[in-house]
């Protein structure tokens, strides 16, 4: 064997340790040192960022409220077949009466009610109303007492909803986020005019694509000019690109809010120039136009910088060679120069698209109702409607889209090659 023949001539260090062992020990030590250097940040990001995202994933499917508040009812409902169309048996009503008595004492029954109300409107008031009476319920024949408290308890649909949400995990939020609902015939999309979330996702995508395209159209000439000018003047002009990049997002948004108003600078100038009549001032804000203009301005540097770094590496001799062989200016540009800039366009577009798809502040301030994004809906569900599960499900869907794009960006550009300024 080759190993044995080598064994006689093994190289050793001065203290007699075989060289291989010594090297691998040194390597191990270096490896350990680099791991130790990364470890603090790794742990920090894990706790401050990755766990919160994981928590959100969990919240989008978790369903603790119904099993936690109505434990006996959940157990009793297991024997009831929700597709039979019949009312649940007396034991279920008895279990619910016991659960509700506990829940009313702890004042948690309204929370279950409002949770189930997302799925079946009317349940919130049903729980509230029954909650007031359940203390006076007497032993025996709970079915009749419940029906006396509110005849909605005779509706099989109410029980179906309760049973649907009695498992600790639910896909309900995701169904709601995709504008679908569980009906007697399985999962179905809501009627066309009630599909708000798919519509909003669609609008977010369309507006993001529009913004990306306008960024390419405006960014390409600038990057081309900057890369062809001598270093001194291009550095000077670069400041005009970097200053907006460094200016606070809210400053730029407020600037657009001021400029685009009906009584703002742009409309005033247009009226003064006589292009627009005083009574027909353009509506530039609180609509999609406002969102597109402001976000293009905000994201344009993210397109120019990667384009510029690609264009700087393209040697001007290619263009000269093409022209010397008889290509017209346009032909040389389109067939020789442009194809070499496509990686830059790709990098810039993905970056701009990723950033714009999750934008919240600018659409909120200049978008009105027609220019808002899916993020605004997520924010609404967190702070106003308090439907955190739905917010989490919408967030997860958005996150998946962004992660696919991030992976694509990493494949095409490499995340190490991101340049800032």
């Amino acid at each position: 064997m080759t190993d044995q023949t080598h064994a006689q001539t093994v190289l050793t260090t001065q203290d007699g340790v075989p060289l291989k062992v010594s090297i691998s020990r040194a390597l191990r030590r270096q490896k350990l040192r680099s791991v130790l250097l990364v470890a603090p940040l790794f742990l920090f990001i894990l706790i401050s960022f990755v766990l919160p995202i994981a928590d959100m994933l969990f919240r989008s499917v978790e369903n603790p409220l119904v099993p936690g508040t109505l434990p006996n009812t959940v157990v009793a409902l297991q024997v009831w077949d929700e597709n039979s169309g019949e009312m649940p048996p007396e034991e279920v009503f008895a279990a619910l009466a016991a659960d509700l008595k506990v829940a009313v004492a702890a004042k948690t029954h309204t929370r279950v009610g409002s949770r189930l109300n997302y799925e079946n409107p009317g349940i919130a008031s049903l729980f509230r109303k029954t909650g007031r009476r359940v203390k006076r319920f007497e032993e025996g024949d709970y079915t009749a007492q419940f029906l006396k408290a509110d005849k909605k308890w005779g509706d099989v649909g109410v029980w179906q909803t309760i049973k649907q949400f009695s498992s600790p995990m639910t896909a309900g939020y995701f169904l709601a986020a995709a504008d679908a609902q569980r009906t007697a015939d399985g999962v179905q999309f809501k009627p066309e005019d009630e599909r708000i979330y798919l519509f909003l996702f669609g609008r977010t995508l369309i507006l993001s694509v529009t913004i990306t395209i306008t960024c390419i159209l405006l960014g390409y000439p600038i990057a081309f000019l900057l890369s062809s000018l001598p270093l001194r003047s291009s550095n000077l002009l670069m400041i005009l690109v970097l200053l907006p990049f460094w200016t606070s997002l809210l400053v730029r948004t407020s600037a657009w809010k001021v400029l685009l108003q009906q009584q703002g600078v742009i409309n005033d100038t247009l009226v003064w120039l006589g292009i627009v009549g005083d009574d027909s001032r353009l509506a530039l804000i609180n609509n999609q136009t406002g969102t597109i203009i402001a976000m293009t301005h905000i994201l344009l540097p993210f397109m120019i910088l990667p384009l510029f770094s690609v264009m700087k590496t393209i040697s001007p001799t290619y263009m000269r060679a093409a022209k010397s062989m008889g290509a017209s200016d346009w032909y040389a540009f389109w067939r020789v120069y442009f194809p070499q800039t496509i990686p830059g366009i790709g990098a810039g577009s993905i970056l701009v698209f990723i950033l714009s798809i999750g934008y919240y502040i600018t659409p909120e301030l200049v978008g009105g109702t027609s220019g808002i994004f899916i993020s605004n809906r997520i924010a609404y569900h967190i702070s106003f409607s308090l439907n955190w599960g739905l917010a989490a499900a919408l967030g997860v869907m958005l996150l998946v889209v962004v992660m696919v794009l991030y992976w694509l960006y990493d494949r095409i550009v490499g995340i190490d090659n991101v340049k800032l300024g």
């Binding site: 680099s34 000439p221 400041i239 200016t247 948004t253 407020s254 300024g421």
Partner: protein, 284 residues
Amino acid sequence: MAALPPYASTGQRTWYYTFRIICGLIFFFLIFPILVIIPLSFNAQNFFTFTPEMLSFDPAGYSLKHYEDFFTNSDWQAAMWNSVRIAPMATIFATGFGTLAAIGLSQSHMPARSVIMAMLISPMIVPLIISAAGMYFFYSRIGLQGTYWGVVMAHAALGTPFVIITVTATLVGFDQSLVRAAANLGANPVTTFFRVQMPLILPGVISGALFAFITSFDEVVVVLFLGSAGQKTLPWQMFTGLREQISPTILAVATLLVTISIILLTVLEFLRRRSERLRGLSPG
């Protein structure tokens, strides 16, 4: 494109000037919104457009009253101090952890390098609203929601990717044999780090710190969810101001923030040139 050759045809000449005009207009689009708020912030009226007095350069049309409001109004002052308290602390965390990690990541023996890198950069890529939602849920579970340290932690996490990227970029040009030479001459690792490595990567560290600072200083989405009234920062105050009662004081604040950006940009440009000169990449 650099210069027009003397033999250029009329068509080429026309295109050359048309192209420059187009570029000029795009530059105008980029810079105009930022510059226009500066004179508007000196408006003597509570208007958001130029008054006739301002256009005729009448001194009566200008005043410092919006600045006065900013410096005397307790809401704005509280917001400013909160920003000043949160951003530097977040910067210290982000820069400290980020620099160490960047040094570790740029060593060739780092296992699972690309996966860890992708994870550490992700706070920059994940939409802010998602980070904000996740942090809001999770930090309320562990009792950090609505606290100073919660906001600092979140902002530090958002700032670290910038530190990693800038420090890694300076380490690309770093000659590892310098470390070995220092060790050979008897320096221990700590001395080597502070006397040899640190001075060379310092421009990257500082520009990373500036990025981290501006990330925290400008951040509004996360603090909107995570913070309580006690952590109301300047961008938060601006956001509520813009959404509810839009007052020209916002323009005065915006002008001050633009001034800060210009200072930061100058420092960064200076650092970039210094770093390139030190590493002998270009004559500067």
